[in-house]
Structures are given as structure tokens and as C-alpha cells.
């Protein structure tokens, strides 16, 4: 064994190469560590540096541009020149010399003043001393006289000095004033210039903001820093305890809340609609961060993929752009008001509520949506038996735009299902049929009646909901569905007996229907029935249909099929009242990880939540395998509708956001959401524009929109709640010359109140009822208003009806009866309306009379004139009896 000190060979060995390699490795390792720490693992540093340079150069360019503008501005030139002249004059011109002389004089004057002042002070001290000696002498009973002499001497000296002090002081102050004056003129010019150059100079601050300052020197750019927002108690952990959420997104997205970067690429782009979405009253990023809406892994900064949560370990990947709409429902109860900022979500929610999803699926917040489809309690009295079999087989064949989905059934199964519901409805149906015979006046195909019926259908408002020809519809449901059936083939489905009585009193047949009564006379109902019976041909009978429907085997099998397919989710079926929804609960569907989604044997579909959901909605049974059956029916939705629905589904999350981050979810918001659902259920938007949406019937009135139903934006603020209640319960014609009729919906008190609360909520009405005290109306207001409304002034009754007095000219120029105002209109709304009708209702025929009122009434004070008109309107309807509508009271049977 080699041993040091003994073995010569061992002594000769050198380890130099090992040290060299070791050192090299260490250096390389240190370098790598340094690089990894500063560059590889901190990509945001490079990004920030890039942003600072961008910010700097943009500010520089903006500065240059503003500067160019200023250089071309003669006012700027003039002031700048004035300032420069003044400054040069100050530094080496006349003014400068004068200032210099003044300053040196001021210095001398100060010295002189201080010298005298010092002398005064000295004398005062000596006086103090003398008085002390004097008092001392008195107390020791010595003679104080010498001291008194000294004091007198000193007083004399002080008086002399005081005489000199005053002018010395005045001289100094005068000089100072003169200097100040010279300087302040310069300051004034500087301030004036500052105002003009503010637009330019703000860019200096922007540049300074990204500069690194080292004592007197500064250069671009400052050292990058992590930008972090901490949202206290935003999330809840698995133990349901509040935990903070940390967002570092703005470490790279530096301009997200700054204007001027709209055209840059990410990550430096400004947030779209920043001024609205990130405003202080919306989602200021310093309070809400980014991941609250956009998800992703907010804390991560070491790679883009990790920060965006787009890797396999993170369950909530980034929601880019429009996808963030999914998150609105986490904090907002009312999302349909975001028609502009979350259109897909709003549309998705409408679809979800109206196409029947809630019939099978339970979702928190959507539990109480009523069954969307017709009741089948008396179905045997309504439809042709062969038609119903074909309808159950595939409803899309008869009506491609129907809401009813296709269950893709064999005829056997369809017959079985029909047999069951037929047998369940037979008893009630037969009784109804017996009690409602076909009217004696009905003649099938009577051309006169057909023409009359067609005209009625086109004028009284049927088209606000129904289509009567291929491609005709009013309120759309998504892109390819109709909210209300198209009746172009109605004769294939129902017969005249049912149609007549249905038209006369829909709730008499089906107590919960949303089909309203149009207060038809018997003749009108016969005419419309005759017309409808010309639309479409009777369907061919299915052979032996009557026997098949009565077959007990079919009925029994039908019952189990109805249970399997969950028909009672949407339809009321006798004997199925207690069944529960057959689909999966979707309350937390949006936060399901992809591992929990069943892809069946599909290998062609990408394993993401988005892809799973899209394909499920597109082809609901796509994941079925030979062993696993799927029952969800085919809705045939357009791609856009699927994406809208998916947007809403994505928001069904497990998340519990802390109260302080939530949007207002108070009673008023709840009332708006609830009332809007009801409004949509009754399809008010078919005829009326509400919340800037709807009024779909207007397309038939393009020639003369004034004959179309009124726009109801802001209706809550316009009408008095008590009037509104009465009107909804039993509508009266406000514009009797219109052929279109406000139908009678037969709303319950509860529903009527809900609708009123909805309109009041939209208009933020605080006080829904108004009391008019006639005694408080000043008589001079009435006199003035009588003059104002007269022919010599505003001539209101040129267009407005006044009780029984009708205006001249054709009806399309008429306006509502002003005697209705007292009962109907909100007094404060009248003021707003008279001030600027176009602002309240853009496009209205009512012209603006103000500003421009007459000078000779109520001293020409326009506010007083408007108040007087309001008071007058509130007084003229006093004695007028409330117009009565032909009463149609639905003979509703109590709901079982």
C-alpha cells in the first residue's frame, strides 16, 4: 500500500487536474444556479423589463406627440416666449439688474434694521436692569433717585431708536415686496404654461415611474418586482374555513387596468371594457384580483402554463376572454342584466330555464321553475290520437323548432306511452268534451270566416307569440328553437271543438296555462277556429290506433316507459305527481374534474370538461356503451346555443364566495330575477320591449310602429303600482284605437305582485304608491295649466284623447286619454316625461315642449309650468269612472 512519506511514487502524484475540474464544476454550477434563479425560474423578470421599456417608449412617443401639438399651438408659443423673455430678463436683462440691485439693497436694509433692532434690544435690557436696581433700592429703603435718572435717560435713548427702527423696518418690507412682485409675475406665467402643458408633462411622470433612481441619476428601467393582490377570506378550504387568495397575475399583466395598451399583445394588453368592468363600482383589480373571474393559479409566477393553471395538476384552468362569463354567477344573482358584458351567459340562462333542463335536473337556485310543457290531464280531449303517437316518436319531424326534445323512440314504445297518458286523461277529457260542444255557428272551410279569422290573427296580437307559416316566429329561443309553437300545421294536431273553447278560455281547459285570453267574442273565436283549421292537413291514422291505445298491456308498459323517460319532468300527468327528477343534479357540475366525467368508449373526444359538455349537449347519448344506456333526449341545439348553455353550466360551482365580495343579492334583486322569469314565462317580450329586449311583434309593424304594443322600458317608474295591479288583472284599453289587444292572462294575485315588483325593481322605485291630495294643488297651477294645454299654447288635445272627446285625424296620430293619468301615472314620472320625452322613451311621438315654454305663464318659469301641468293632469281624472274591460274570468279549477 502506498503511504505518504514512505512511497516515493505517491509523493510524486499531483491532484492539480482534480482541483481544476472541481473548480470548473463549481464555477459552472454557481453560474447555473445564478441563471436558474434569476432567469429560468423567473420569466416574469424579463417580461417586466420588456414592459417597462414598452411603457417608457410609449410615454416618450406620447410626450413627443403632445410636444409637437404644443409647438404648433400659438398660445403655448406666446406664453413660453413670454416666460423665456422674463427669465432671460431676470437672469441677465434689465429686470435681472433691477432685481439684483433690489436684493443687495434689501440686504443692506436688513443689516441696518437688524443693527437698530439690536440696539433697541440692548436698551431694553439695560432698562430692565435699571428698574431692578431701582426696585431693589426702594425695598432696601435707599434713595432710588439716581436710578430714576438713569431710567429716564434710557427711555429717551429708546424713544430715539424707535424712531429709527420704524422706517428701517418699512424700508426692508418695501424692498421685499418689490422682489416678491417680480418673482410672482414669473410664477404666474409658469402656472399658466403648466396648465397648457399638463397633457404633455403627465408623460414625464409616466416615464419617471419606470425609471430607476440612484441619487441624482436615473435610467430605464427599474428593478422588476412581484405585483401581488391578497384577497382576504375569498376562498373556503376543505374544512369550510375562510382562506385568503393570492393573485400575482399583474406581475406580467401590467397594463390590465391602464388605458392606452388596447392594441398591444398579451400580456401587456388593457382589459376589454376596462372602464366598465374594472371600475371602482365593479371589479377593481386591487379588490377582486383576476382569478376570481378568470381562474388559473394566481400565485404561480414561474411559468406561463403554471400561472394559467393549464397543466394536469390544476383543476381550474384559465378562463380566457368570454369564458370568464361563467364566473359571474358566483357572485351575481341577476346576470341577465349583463346583456352587453355577458351575452352568452344571459342567453345560456334563458335557454336553461326555458327549454326544460330543470324538468330533469335539479340545480340550486332553479328549483321552482314550473313545468314548461302543457298539462296532459285532459290530453285525450285535445289532440288526434294518431298525431300524438307520431309526436312522441319524434316531435322534431312535425315541428323542428319545438322545445320538446326527441327521445328517438320506436313506434311500439310511442304507442305504449300514448296509451298510458291517454288512459290517465280519458275520464277528465271526456267530461270536458261533453261539457264543451262545438258551437253551432262553426262551418268548416267557410271562406268568409277564414278571411275574418286570418285578419284577426294578424291584428289582435296572436303573432306576438305564435308563428303561422314556415319560418315565422316571434320570441326566439336560442338560435333554432321557438318559445311558443308555430301553428302552421295545427289542423293535423287538434280539432275545431277544442280550438274554439281553448281560444275562448284557455284556463278553463288548463288552469295553469300561460296562453292568455284575448277576450274574443263567440263570432271572433269561430272565425279564428275556422282559419286555424285550414292550416295543415289532418294526419293519417295509425292503423288500429283506438284498439292499441285501449290495450291494457300497452298501458302497463307505457307507465314504466313514462317513468323511464321522465315525461312528468315537463308535463303534468295524472298519477305521476310525486315523481322526482330523473336526471343528475347539476348544482356543482361546473367544478367537476374531467376524471369524474364518463367518456364511455369515446377516444375521439378530447378529455376536457369543455369537450365533454359540448358533445353531451350536441349528441346527448354520445357516451353510451353497449352496457351503459343513456336517456337524455336530443334537443337539436345550434352550436351557439350549446356554447351559451355550457357557459351557464360552467358557473354551477362548488364555490362559496365570502359575503363581502358578493354583488347585491338583496330582496330587490331577488324580486327582479323572480319576476323576470315570470315575465319570460308569459312571454311579455313577445309584444313589449322590456329591459331593451323583445317587442318581437314590432317586425310586423314596420310601416307604422305607432300601432304596435308600447315599449315598457322604465314602466315601473312610469305607472302607479295600484293601477298596474288592476290593469294586469283586468286590462283596459289605454289606446282604444289599436287593433292589438293586451290579453287577460288570468294571473294570480301572487304572480301579479311579482310582475309589479319586477318592473319596480328594474326602475329602482322606492315608493310604489302615490296619493294625490287635491287640496294641496295650488289653484293658480290649474289656471295656468288650462291655458297651457289649450289650443293657443301646447294644444295637447290635438293628439291626446280627453275622456270621450276624440282627437281629429287618423288614429295612428292619437295619444292616450289624459284623464287616465290621475289613476295611472306616477306624478314624478310626469315631470320627467314633460321635461324630456325623448330621454325617457327614445323615438316617441311625444315632442319636447321644453325648453321653450311661453314667457307669459307663471312668469315664464318652466319648472313651475311643468309642475302646473302635472297638477292639472292629476286633477282632471278625478271624476272619471275607471273604464271597464269586457270581463273574462277564467273558470279555473283548483289545481290538484
Amino acid at each position: 500500500m502506498a503511504e505518504r512519506g514512505v512511497d516515493q511514487q505517491e509523493e510524486k502524484k499531483s491532484y492539480g487536474s482534480v482541483f481544476v475540474i472541481g473548480v470548473a464544476l463549481l464555477v459552472a454550477l454557481s453560474l447555473w444556479a445564478f441563471l436558474d434563479d434569476n432567469v429560468t425560474r423567473r420569466p416574469w423578470k424579463g417580461i417586466q423589463a420588456r414592459f417597462f421599456r414598452l411603457d417608457y417608449s410609449k410615454a416618450q412617443a406620447a410626450y413627443a406627440e403632445e410636444d409637437k401639438k404644443l409647438q404648433a399651438d400659438s398660445k403655448y408659443q406666446e406664453i413660453a416666449k413670454k416666460l423665456a423673455e422674463r427669465q432671460s430678463s431676470l437672469s441677465n436683462g434689465d429686470l435681472g439688474r433691477k432685481l439684483k440691485a433690489l436684493e443687495s439693497e434689501e440686504k443692506q436694509a436688513t443689516v441696518k434694521f437688524q443693527e437698530i433692532d439690536q440696539k433697541v434690544k440692548d436698551v431694553k435690557s439695560e432698562l430692565e436692569e435699571a428698574w431692578y436696581e431701582h426696585d431693589h433700592a426702594v425695598q432696601q429703603k435707599r434713595d432710588p433717585k439716581p436710578y430714576l435718572e438713569e431710567i429716564a435717560e434710557l427711555d429717551k435713548r429708546k424713544a430715539q431708536l424707535d424712531k429709527q427702527l420704524e422706517p428701517a423696518h418699512a424700508r426692508r418690507e418695501q424692498l421685499r415686496e418689490e422682489i416678491k412682485k417680480i418673482r410672482s409675475t414669473t410664477k404666474e406665467i409658469e402656472d399658466e404654461l403648466g396648465k397648457i402643458t399638463a397633457e404633455r408633462d403627465k408623460w414625464i411622470r409616466v416615464m419617471e415611474n419606470v425609471m430607476l433612481k440612484l441619487g441624482p441619476v436615473s435610467f430605464c428601467c427599474k428593478i422588476p418586482k412581484i405585483q401581488q393582490v391578497s384577497l382576504d377570506e375569498f376562498d373556503r378550504n376543505r374544512f369550510d374555513q375562510p382562506v385568503a387568495r393570492v393573485d400575482r397575475c399583474q406581475t406580467c399583466h401590467l397594463a390590465i387596468n391602464r388605458p392606452g395598451f388596447e392594441k398591444e399583445a398579451h400580456p401587456f394588453k388593457t382589459h376589454p371594457r376596462r372602464e366598465v368592468l374594472l371600475a371602482d363600482n365593479a371589479h377593481p383589480p386591487e379588490k377582486f384580483g383576476c382569478t376570481g373571474c378568470h381562474e388559473g393559479q394566481g400565485v404561480a409566477v414561474n411559468s406561463k402554463e403554471q400561472a394559467h393553471g393549464e397543466f394536469h395538476l390544476w383543476e381550474a384552468p384559465l378562463l380566457r376572454g368570454a369564458k370568464a362569463q361563467s364566473s359571474c354567477t358566483s357572485c351575481h344573482l341577476d346576470v341577465q342584466k349583463f346583456a352587453e358584458d355577458a351575452p352568452l351567459l344571459a342567453e345560456g340562462q334563458r335557454l336553461f330555464e326555458q327549454i326544460g333542463c330543470t324538468g330533469c335536473h335539479l340545480v340550486k337556485g332553479y328549483e321552482n321553475i314550473p313545468k314548461i310543457a302543457p298539462s296532459l290531464l285532459k290530453i285525450s280531449a285535445k289532440v288526434e290520437p294518431s298525431w300524438i303517437v307520431r309526436w312522441i316518436e319524434n316531435p322534431h319531424k312535425f315541428r323542428p323548432r319545438t322545445r320538446m326534445p326527441n327521445f328517438d323512440l320506436k313506434q311500439d314504445d310511442a304507442i305504449a306511452i300514448a296509451s298510458f297518458i291517454w288512459s290517465q286523461s280519458r275520464e277528465e277529457g271526456d267530461t270536458w268534451t261533453q261539457e264543451h260542444p262545438i258551437p253551432a255557428g262553426f262551418r268548416e272551410g267557410d271562406q268568409n270566416q277564414v278571411g275574418k279569422g286570418k285578419k284577426l290573427v294578424e291584428t289582435i296580437g296572436c303573432k306576438g307569440c305564435h308563428g303561422f307559416a314556415e319560418g315565422e316566429f316571434s320570441t326566439p329561443l336560442g338560435k333554432e328553437k321557438d318559445l311558443v309553437p308555430n301553428l302552421k300545421d295545427i289542423a293535423a294536431k287538434v280539432g275545431p271543438q277544442w280550438v274554439y273553447h281553448w281560444l275562448k278560455n284557455p284556463r278553463g281547459f288548463s288552469p295553469d296555462t300561460r296562453m292568455p285570453s284575448l277576450r274574443l267574442t263567440d263570432d271572433e273565436a269561430i272565425a279564428i277556429t275556422t282559419y286555424l283549421m285550414t292550416l295543415g292537413a289532418k294526419s293519417d291514422a295509425v292503423t288500429g290506433i283506438e284498439e292499441k291505445l285501449a290495450d291494457p298491456k300497452n298501458i302497463k308498459r307505457g307507465e314504466s316507459l313514462v317513468r323511464k323517460w321522465g315525461c312528468f319532468g315537463c308535463h303534468e300527468i295524472k298519477g305521476m305527481e310525486k315523481e322526482s327528477r330523473i336526471g343528475a343534479e347539476l348544482s356543482t357540475f361546473g367544478s367537476k374534474p374531467k376524471e369524474e366525467l364518463f367518456f364511455g368508449n369515446r377516444t375521439d373526444i378530447k378529455e376536457t370538461w369543455d369537450d365533454w359538455t359540448y358533445n353531451k349537449l350536441k349528441t346527448p347519448r354520445i357516451y353510451a356503451t353497449e352496457r351503459i344506456e343513456q336517456v337524455m333526449p336530443q334537443f337539436d341545439l345550434a352550436d351557439e346555443d350549446i356554447k351559451a348553455l355550457r357557459m351557464l353550466l360552467g358557473g354551477f360551482r362548488e364555490r362559496k364566495v365570502n359575503q363581502r365580495y358578493l354583488a347585491d343579492q338583496g330582496l330587490r334583486v331577488q324580486q327582479v330575477v323572480e319576476g323576470r322569469r315570470l315575465m319570460q314565462q308569459y312571454n311579455c317580450v313577445g309584444c313589449h320591449e322590456i329591459e331593451k329586449r323583445g317587442g318581437f311583434i314590432r317586425k310586423y309593424y314596420q310601416e307604422n310602429v305607432t300601432l304596435a304594443p308600447p315599449v315598457l322600458n322604465g314602466e315601473g317608474e312610469k305607472v302607479q303600482s295600484n293601477w298596474f295591479f288592476g290593469f294586469l288583472k283586468a286590462p283596459i284599453p289605454i289606446r282604444p284605437w289599436l287593433e292589438i289587444r293586451m290579453p287577460t292572462f288570468g294571473l294570480s294575485d301572487e304572480h301579479t305582485n311579482q310582475l309589479i315588483s319586477y318592473f319596480n325593481g328594474l326602475s329602482k322605485v322606492e315608493i310604489p304608491f302615490a296619493y294625490i291630495d287635491d287640496k294641496k294643488i295650488p289653484p293658480e297651477h290649474i289656471d295656468a295649466a288650462k291655458q297651457l294645454v289649450s289650443k293657443d299654447y301646447f294644444n295637447c288635445f290635438s293628439c291626446h284623447q280627453q275622456g270621450d272627446k276624440k282627437p281629429e285625424g287618423p288614429v295612428e296620430g292619437w295619444a292616450p286619454d289624459l284623464t287616465l293619468a290621475r289613476q295611472r301615472l306616477n306624478p314624478n314620472w310626469i315631470l320627467k316625461w314633460l321635461k324630456d320625452p325623448q330621454k325617457v322613451q327614445p323615438g316617441t311621438k311625444m315632442p319636447s315642449f321644453y325648453p321653450g315654454g311661453p314667457d307669459n305663464i307663471l312668469g315664464g318659469k318652466e319648472d313651475l309650468q311643468i309642475e302646473a301641468l302635472r297638477d292639472y293632469l292629476m286633477s282632471i281624472g278625478k271624476g272619471a269612472p275607471a273604464p271597464t274591460a269586457p270581463a273574462v274570468v277564467a273558470k279555473a279549477k283548483p289545481v290538484k
Partner: protein
Amino acid sequence: MKKLGSIVLSAALVALPITAMAAYQGGDVKDGGSISGTVKFKGTAPAPKKLDVSKDKEVCGKTPKVDQSLVVNNGNLANAVVTITDIQKGKKIEVKKVTLDQKECEYHPHVLAFPAGSAIEILNPDGILHNVHSYSKVNSPFNQAQPKFKKTLEVKVDKPEVIEVKCDVHGWMHGWLVATETPYFAVTDNSGSFKLTDVPPGSYTVEVWHEKLGKNTQKVTVKAKEEAKVNFEVAGK
């Protein structure tokens, strides 16, 4: 939906030339030429419809009224607006007050053209209630009452646009305000003739617009101090 799409598209097409065109620059024109001609109606014009004066007859019904939306005299088309659509530089725009008279419940003139930015004085000589309701999209629409005591009313139209004006009190009253971008415009009279003066030499597109007949254009080359002739024959739709 499709229909809506096409409406949006056509609205965009209408709005585009206004926004896309570089702003017009006015200045002195030396050696300018002129463009003149007549606009004729192709075919036989239908007899003008009599208007049903159903309100304020004592004033509005003094003389019988006919529909002014297609006035043809011996084949000459009146009330057509002739403009140069692609002129960038030319004479100064003179913004002055123009007048729209509502005498006997009819707009005089039926088509009033003026450079954008002009003030329009609207007269109410008959002393009855009118309202002036504009159906504009580019400019903000107005709907102002003009009661008996208000003999004149002034409105301003700031941006170039063809605006329909109606009176809701008298349903038959109907006219047009045509605010142009350049000072080169003319409204044809009963002889169908028009003349645009002080046009700098160059080639231009001359457009004729008529409320019922739409737009027609022709190319024309103007030489210094010469009169270029361009005649239109507009077909009924």
C-alpha cells in the same frame, strides 16, 4: 336573423363612406369649372297621390295637397339632390342659416340641402301646433314641439346625413333634410336642372339621390373655367 344581418350590413355600408372619407378641405379655388345638367325621370311618372288632410282643415286644407315624394314635370325630376361624392378639396364651406317653412302644413322646400353644421330655422306661419321629428341616426334625433306661439324654431345638424323629417301632429307632413359634407350640392327644381360651380379641375363622381328612386352616379371630368355637362336619367323602382 338573416334579415337583421343584412340590415346591419347595409347600415354599415351607408355609414362607411362618411367615416372612411378623409375630411373635406375648403379653400380658394382658382380657374374653377362647373358641372351642370338635368335629371330626367325614365318612363311615365305615376299621377301624384292626393293627400288626405284630416286635421286642422281650416289651415292645412286651404289648398289641396299632393304627395311630394315623386314630382316629375315634363319628364324632369324635381327634389333630387346632386352632390360630388369624392371631392377632397375645393371651395370654402359657407355655413349659413337655411329656412324650412311649414306653411299650410307642408314642408317648403320638400327637400332642403345644406352643408353640415348649418342652422335650420323652422317657420310656423299658420299658428297651429306642429312638431318637428327627425329620424336621424348619425346626428342625435330631435322631436320638438312648435306650438302656436312659437313662430320660429332653430335646430342644428352637425354631421353629414340624409334625415327624414315628419310631423306627428299632421301625419301627412313629410320632408327631408340633407346635410352634406362639401359645399358642392344642388337640389333640382321643376326643370330638373342643377349647377355646381367653382369646381377645381379634375375627375369626380357626381351622385343623384332621390327619396323614392335611390342613388345614381356618373363620372365627370371638369376642366378649368369650362362647364362640364352631365345628364341623368333615373328609372323608377
